[in-house]
Structures are given as C-alpha cells and as structure tokens.
C-alpha cells in the first residue's frame, strides 16, 4: 500500500487561446485571398470579401465557442485547419463564379458551410459520449446500406452526369453516399471491435499467410459485393473504392492481420478486372489514365479532355501559380467540384498545392493521433477509420485529377462545391473532435489525499 503522491498532476494544456488565434489567422488568410481575387478581376476589393470573410469568420467563431464549451480538451489544431481548407474552397468557388462559370455558386457553398457548422455543433452538443455510437452498430450499418442504395429507389433517385448517386428531397438534391460513408465507418468500427478476436485468431496457416476461416470471410465478401454492386448500379467508382478500401484498412487495424489486406487487394483487383471487362466506362477511365494526351481520347466524349485541361491548368500554374483571379481555371470542366484541386493548382501553383496537401495531411495526422491516444478499442477504431477515410478520399480524388491513379469521381473534402459532402465531413470532424476531447481529457483527479478512500470530481 502506498500513499498517492502529493504533488499535483500536470494537466495537458487546453490551448484554447492558441486555437482562437489560429482560427483568426485562417480567416485572415481567406479574406486576403478574397481581396486577391477581387483585385485581380475588377481591380478593387470585392464586396464579397466582407460578406464571405466575415460570414466564414462568424461561423467559425460559433463553432469555436461550441467546441470550447462542449469539448474543451479537444485537439486545438483540427478546427483551424478545416476552416482554412473550407475557406480556400469558398474562395475558389467565388473566383470561378466571378469567371461566370456555370454552376459555381459561392453563396450556396457559404450557406452549406453554415449548415455544416450547425451540424458540427449539434453533433458536439448532442453526442456527449461517442461510445453511445457503439450501441448503434447495426442500426448504423442498416442506415448506411439504405443510404447507399437509396439513389436506386425509383422516383427518389436521380441520375446526374451519368452517375446515379443522387436523391431528390423536395427541390434539393443530396448525395447520400457521403452520409453513408460515416454510418458505415461507425458500423465497421462497432462490428470489428466485437468480432476482432475471432477474425484475428481463428484460421489456419498456409505457407506464410494466416488464412481466416471461411465463415469469417463473410463480412469481407459482403462488403466487397456491396461496393461492386454500387459500382455496377450507380456507376460510382469513387464511392465503391472509398468504402471498400476503408473497410480493409479498418479490418487490418482491428485484427492486425496482413492476410486481410492481401485478401482485400486480391478481391479489389479481381473486382476491378471484372468491372473493366463488363463495363465500358471503367475501361475508358483506365485507357484515359494510361494515355491522357492521346488526341483521339482527347476528342472523344467522356475522354481525357477534362483530365488534360486540369493538367494544363497545373502546368500553367507552375511553381508559384498565376495568382488568384489571374488564371483560367474556368477552362477545366467541373472546376468547382471534382476538379477544384487542379483549379487551385493553376492559380496558387505548386506552392499552394503543397501547403494544401500539408493541411490535409495534418488533419489526418491529428485524427490518427487522437486514435492512438484513445482509451478504448471502439474509439481507436472509429477515430482511425474516420481519419483513414479522409486521407483515402483525398488520395483517390487528388490522385485521380493529377493522373496518379485512374480518375474516379469523388468530392475533394471541404473544398468541392456540394452540400452533402460538406455536411458529412463537418460531422466527421465533429466526431474526431469529440473523440480527441475524450482522449485528451485528464483522468479524474483526487481532490485531496484521503488514503484508500477517494472522492472524484467528474
């Protein structure tokens, strides 16, 4: 029996002031970027600078206050980083709208950002303990699958640009896959935490690989089949790749078994070859990937025109970029959504893109750090899964538009114009913030030295 130490335990710093300062800095950068666009296009500071800048600043201040009240121990870096990316997206959309690009609407995006911040706040306020989600494992799974297939429901689903990934609600369209991905990560986390021992330990060894039991393969095969189904029926390559890859990563994190990764990769390659043989649009994407500069592909409908325009823009930008408002990103089709990354590359150059990728990497890193610091397996897996899906999504879309991997349509998180993705990603960030608050919150401290009997303040 030893007596507890009398020295006070050092509490981790909350660093709220630093967070506020960084948040202000992010907003100042964004306002500077607005001013830049206006000066380049109209030779005057745009009226939008105050509207958009202060709008964004106001939203972020609200988010900060909610965070400070309801998740005081949360990671101080996540919110300012997300603010910067979200604001940069707003600036690019504003800039494309100023270039009279059809479809670009900075006002809509700002409104969606506001709604995103509301959802962020609501999530933080309502979900005081994220472990409540563990009890909803199968509900989340069912909701996720339902959301994923919802675009296929007659009258509800809508086909836009050849992909049936939208549903019409009232006058608005939503992309349910964005929300489905959150629900599915919650489901995977809950399911894998419950089943990880059996998935990890049972099985037999063949050569160097531990093969799982056939019945344990079930969930993997079901997920694989499901993502293929999504691909086939909705022609949504991006989402199926996103969900399948995330599932494999989480399976690996939960079981620590490399064999799952190998099986996953084999299944993916098999599925991709199968899809390539069966569907011309998958094959087209692949030929475009291999040879985007081929003139025949360039002129073909659904060929490499869009990809190459993005690459031209990036080439034009070079190391320092043309400067905001001084390039021609409106040349790139869908520059405000899927191709916002090359559009940014044209005007901010390599310098801007490296900074942008660094910000994404930092957000992911903060998420993974949360995951490592978390105290229970479900939190670890959920935080790890959410961080990975964010990184994976950036990789798929940015790699696609920069011709690193074949192009599959996905939104660039927080940047691309589109409400669904923005809302879903703000909820994702709220979950990470909630978990980082839980992870960093110091364990209850003894109020006084009372020997064997202690009173805790919770």
């Amino acid at each position: 029996m030893s007596t507890p130490s009398v020295e006070p335990v050092l509490l981790p710093a909350k660093r709220r002031v630093a967070q506020l300062a960084m948040l202000a800095f992010a907003v100042v950068i964004i306002m500077g970027a607005y001013a830049n666009v206006g000066l380049a296009i109209d030779k005057q500071i745009p009226s939008g600078m105050l509207t958009y800048g202060l709008g964004l600043g106001g939203f972020m201040l609200a988010a900060y206050l909610v965070l400070a009240k309801f998740a005081p121990w949360a990671d101080p870096l996540i919110l300012p980083l997300v603010t910067l990316v979200n604001g940069l997206g707003l600036v690019m959309i504003y800039r494309l709208e100023a270039a009279k690009m059809g479809g670009a609407s900075a006002t809509n995006q700002l409104v969606w950002t506001g709604v995103g911040v509301v959802l962020f706040s609501v999530t933080l306020i309502v979900l005081r303990d994220h472990r409540a989600l563990q009890r909803l494992t199968y509900t989340a799974g069912a909701v996720g699958l339902l959301l994923l297939v919802s675009p296929l429901i007659p009258f509800l689903g809508k086909e836009i640009n050849g992909a049936r990934i939208w549903i019409g609600v009232g006058g608005a369209t939503l992309q349910p896959a964005e929300f489905a991905k959150l629900a599915l990560v919650v489901f995977f986390a809950g399911y894998l935490v419950a089943k990880r021992d059996v998935l990890a330990l049972a099985g037999r060894r063949l050569l160097f690989i531990d093969l799982p039991r056939a019945r344990d393969l079930g969930p993997v095969l079901i997920t694989w089949g499901f993502s293929l189904g999504v691909l086939v029926l909705q022609k949504d390559l991006g989402s199926s790749l996103l969900i399948f890859g995330t599932f494999i990563a989480m399976l690996y994190i939960a079981t620590q078994r490399t064999s799952w990764v190998l099986i996953g990769i084999l299944l993916f390659v098999g599925g991709a070859i199968l899809a390539g043989m069966l569907f011309s649009h998958v094959q087209d994407r692949f030929t475009v990937y291999l040879n985007p500069e081929d003139p025949a592909l360039y002129d073909k409908v659904g060929g490499s025109f869009q990809l190459l325009q993005g690459l031209f823009g990036m080439g034009q930008g070079g190391v320092i970029g043309t400067g905001l408002g001084q390039g021609h990103p409106e040349q790139i089709p869908l520059a405000f959504s899927d191709f916002i990354f090359p559009a940014t590359g044209e005007e901010l150059g390599l310098t801007g893109l490296m900074a942008l990728l660094m910000i994404y990497a930092l957000i992911v890193e903060r998420g993974l750090r949360t995951s490592i610091a978390a105290r229970d397996p479900f939190s670890k897996l959920l935080a790890g899964g959410l961080s990975f899906i964010l990184a994976w999504q950036v990789f798929i879309i940015v790699g696609g538009v920069t011709n690193l991997i074949p192009l599959t349509g996905l939104v660039t998180p927080f940047m691309s114009q589109g409400g669904s993705a923005l809302l879903a990603n703000w909820i994702l960030i709220a979950l990470l913030v909630r978990m980082s608050d839980a992870a960093r919150k110091p364990p209850p401290q003894a109020i006084q030295d009372e020997g064997m009997t202690q009173v805790f303040q919770r």
């Binding site: 030779k43 270039a99 009279k100 990563a249 690996y252 994190i253 939960a254 620590q256 500069e293 360039y298 190459l308 690459l311 031209f312 823009g313 990036m314 080439g315 034009q316 930008g317 070079g318 190391v319 390039g327 021609h328 409106e330 040349q331 590359g345 150059g349 390599l350 893109l353 490296m354 990728l357 994404y360 990497a361 992911v364 890193e365 993974l368 995951s371 490592i372 397996p377 670890k380 897996l381 790890g384 961080s387 990975f388 990184a391 994976w392 950036v394 990789f395 940015v398 790699g399 920069t402 011709n403 690193l404």
Partner: protein, 485 residues
C-alpha cells in the same frame, strides 16, 4: 491496436507523399510541356489579356485594342480603317501576327525592354501595364487617295509615296488587299478559315505588292541609266544629242531592239530630254552598252538597289538589275527588262533620291513610339542611305523629268500651278500578255514634298495599259493629296 494504427498512419503518410511527389512532377518537370501543348488554350488567352498599344497615323487610329469586358478575350483588336491600311498595320491573329503588328509587337504589347521603367512605375502605382502606341509616318490623305485611285475599276497594283527629305513613307498601298478585322478575332477556327480563303485567292490579297514583290521596272529604269550617263561625263546635259535609231541591232543575236511600238524616235539624232520625254528605247540601250554593265550596276547600287535588304521595319524584298550577261542583255536591262526586278518601294527611292538633290534617305514607317502615358520612347531619326548622284546631276535629271510631264508621255500627271517631275514605264511581261504600267514622280520639282512610285499590274487595266494613261493619273491624285490641293 496502436501497432497497426501506426502502420496505417504510415500508409496515410505514404499516400500524401505520393500526391506531393506527383504534384511536383506535374508542376515542375512537366510544366513546360503542359504549358506549350497546342490544346492548352490558356496561352491563347494571354494574348488578349494585354491592352495593346494603338497604331496611329497622325490623328487617325489604324489599330486599337477594345476592352470587351469578356473574361476570356478581354482586349480585342480592331482596325477602324480596315482594308485601306492593311498592308501597313497587318493583323493580330490568335497564333500569329503580320506587318506592323508583328515587327513592333514587343512595344505594342509592352514587353519590350525599352518599356521596363514604365512597367516598374505601373507596378508601384498598381496600374495595369498597357502597350506602347506606335505612330506611323503615313499621311492618311495620301493613303486614302492612293487606295481610292488605285483600287478603282478592279486594278491590281501598289503605290509607295515617300517624303524625299526624310525618307518617311507617306503612303503604302497594295491592291487587292484584305480586311484585318476578321483575321484578328479571338477564334482560331474562324480566323484559320478566313486566312486560308485569302491565302488560296489567286489575286493574292495577303501579298504586300509595295515591298514584298518585285516587277520589271520598264522605262522608269531609264532614269537610272541616264543618271549613270550624266555621272560618267560632266559635259553631258539635257540638250546633249544622242543616236536614236528606229531599231538597234543587238550584237551577237539575230534580234533587234525596237522602240515602243516600233516607232521612230524623232529624226534619229535627238536630245536626251527628247529621248526621255518620248521614252525611246534605242538611245538608252546604246548608252548602257557604251557604259558597260559595271557602271550601270554601280549606279543602281547607289540608289540602294541590290544592297542590304531594307527593313522599314517591315522586311522589303530585294531588288536587283540581274547578273552580268552579254551586251544584248545589258541593252534590255538598261530599259528595265530582262532580269531587272524592282519593288515599287525601290523605284520610289529612285524618285526620292533625285528629288532630294541626289541623296537617298532610308525609308521608314514609324514616326514615334510613346508609352501609354504619352512619354516618348523612340522617335524617327532620318538617316542617309547613300548619295546616288551629285547635286548637279540631280538638277539635270529633275529638269528632264519635269519635261516628261510637261511635254512628254506623262502629261496626265500635270498639276495646275505645280511643276511635277515624272517618268512613265510600260513593262513587258511575256509575249502576248498585257504590260505592267509604271509611274515614278515627285513634286513640286523645285522643293519636293513627295516622291512616289506606282505600278498597275499586267492585265488588270486592259491590254493597252501604259504608264502614261493608266498610272500617271493615279500618281497625280496622290501628289495632290499630299500637297493639299
């Protein structure tokens, strides 16, 4: 679970690392290639982002950039005077430019090193840099008169008018010509279609006949032959009598050299003035044969013929009297036939040299270049090209050329109250084809303000075209325009 989490973090790091590497590869290694790809329309937009300077002639705007407010093609080129000045201004097409638009491009678009200070000031005062304005020496009245007179009744040809004392080009017309406006639209496809149509046209509207093409000068070249004769012997003058047979026997050939139409030239023994007035062939051929090829070539070179190719700043095709052959060939060369080939500009320089007391000034088109704020960057500095003949010889030639207008073949060029000096030319092209009609002149003879040369091409003014009937009246209207009559 921390082990696999760390490995997953490593995978994430790897993914971002790959993205960063790839972005570097694209924007550094491949940037140049991507920028220069012909399908990258951004280069093409850059041409329209700059407010190019104006091209003016006096108070007349020949070319200007108009702010359309369009995002893609903001500044578009317009040519308010269209066809009239096309051989001078050229055009500004999406992928190329021609004539003044091309040769003064770096000043017009503001990229020239001479505009460095202006650009620096603009940068400091946060102003958008504009290109410099280029003012030409062209006299709009003369240009328009020449365009109207030459362009009437479907003629083809060219006219160049020079201020003899400076070399400033007052008018430069080539017909048929083109409208630079449709060639300067920011739309490659329409421009290429329009250009191809012009390029395939048999009448060659894109050709600047004044400087880009040479023609046999015909009898106008007799002035050069005569100059060589006068220079060779001080005692020779307008009243010196020379042999003028009806037909001249050419040595070592069976052919004879007749006068125009086989006519007799006076009594067979005439004064030089008479020979020039009537434009007899035989006396000049005889003179040339006695002077020899070298003397004729030397005299031609003193007028700038066959020297360094001129840049005014547009590139001028080279003129020349042809290689040395036999005496028979020399006889034909002396009257502007055989391999004798001149640009209209070169013949205008011959007239201007005589008008300017024998001194040939370097011809030029740019009067003044000023930046967008009006500060002068460059202005014309008249330069002597060569001394063609002595002042005395120039005086004799002037006297005889005035006589050609007053008493000879060029009576159609007479202007009331002004003494005009001139020489007609009717150059044979090939057997059975209509001749080119030439005319060179300057006025007023005692204090020349304008010297010019013009050609009306073979076949475009009837089969009986001649320098006196076809070309001289056109010259008259241009001289009147310059002299304000």
């Amino acid at each position: 679970m921390n082990g696999p989490l760390k490995r997953a973090a490593l995978v994430c790091l790897l993914m971002f690392g790959l993205l960063m590497l790839n972005v570097n590869y694209l924007q550094v290694v491949r940037a140049q290639g991507l920028r220069e790809d012909s399908r990258n329309t951004r280069n093409f937009y850059a041409r329209y982002e700059i407010e190019r300077g104006r091209i003016t002639a006096g108070n007349k705007v020949l070319a200007e950039s108009v702010d359309t407010g369009s995002n893609k093609y903001r500044f578009q080129r317009r040519y308010p005077e269209g066809k009239v000045y096309a051989p001078v201004t050229g055009f500004f097409a999406p992928e190329s430019a021609r004539d003044m638009e091309a040769s003064k491009n770096s000043l017009l678009d503001g990229s020239d090193a001479d505009l460095l200070i202006r650009r620096g000031i603009d940068l400091l005062t946060a102003k958008t840099s504009k290109g410099a304005n280029v003012d030409l020496t062209i006299n709009p009245k003369a240009q328009e008169a020449a365009y109207k007179a030459l362009g009437a009744s479907g003629k083809k040809g060219a006219l160049v008018a020079i201020e003899p004392k400076t070399g400033a080009i007052l008018a430069m017309v080539s017909i048929p010509t083109y409208d630079p406006n449709p060639l300067s639209k920011p739309d490659k496809a329409t421009v290429n279609t329009a250009y191809d149509k012009l390029a395939k046209d048999d009448n060659q509207p894109l050709l600047d006949r004044a400087i880009e093409r040479t023609y046999p000068p015909g009898s106008t070249f007799k002035v050069v032959t005569l100059a060589a004769y006068l220079e060779s012997d001080d005692t020779v003058g307008p009243q010196t009598e020379v042999d003028a047979p009806q037909r001249l026997d050419l040595p070592n050939t069976t052919a004879d050299l007749p006068n125009s139409g086989g006519a007799a030239c006076g009594s067979g023994r005439v004064t030089l003035t008479f020979a020039l007035e009537r434009s007899c062939n035989t006396p000049f051929a005889k003179i040339a044969m006695s002077l020899g090829y070298d003397a004729l070539k030397e005299q031609a070179e003193k007028f700038g013929i066959g020297g360094e190719p001129l840049e005014i700043p547009l590139a001028v095709a080279g003129s020349g009297i042809g290689p040395e052959e036999d005496q028979a060939a020399l006889a034909q060369t002396s009257i502007g036939q055989r391999s004798n080939q001149m640009t209209p500009l070169q013949m205008a320089m011959v007239a201007a040299g005589i008008a300017n007391n024998g001194v040939v000034m370097k011809p030029y088109l740019v009067n003044r270049v000023a930046d967008a704020e009006g500060s002068e960057i460059d202005s014309a500095d008249p330069e002597e090209l060569s001394t063609a003949v002595s002042e005395e010889t120039a005086g004799k030639l002037r006297e005889m050329m005035v006589s050609v207008v007053n008493n000879g073949t060029a009576s159609a060029a007479k202007i009331d109250g002004v003494s005009v000096a001139g020489k007609t030319g009717t150059a044979e092209t090939s057997q059975g084809k209509a001749p080119h009609a030439w005319f060179i002149s300057f006025a007023p003879a005692e204090d020349p303000k304008v010297a010019l040369a013009l050609i009306v091409e073979s076949g475009s003014a009837g089969d009986d075209a001649s320098g006196g009937h076809t070309a001289a009246p056109i010259a008259k209207s241009v001289m009147e325009a310059v002299l304000g009559r």
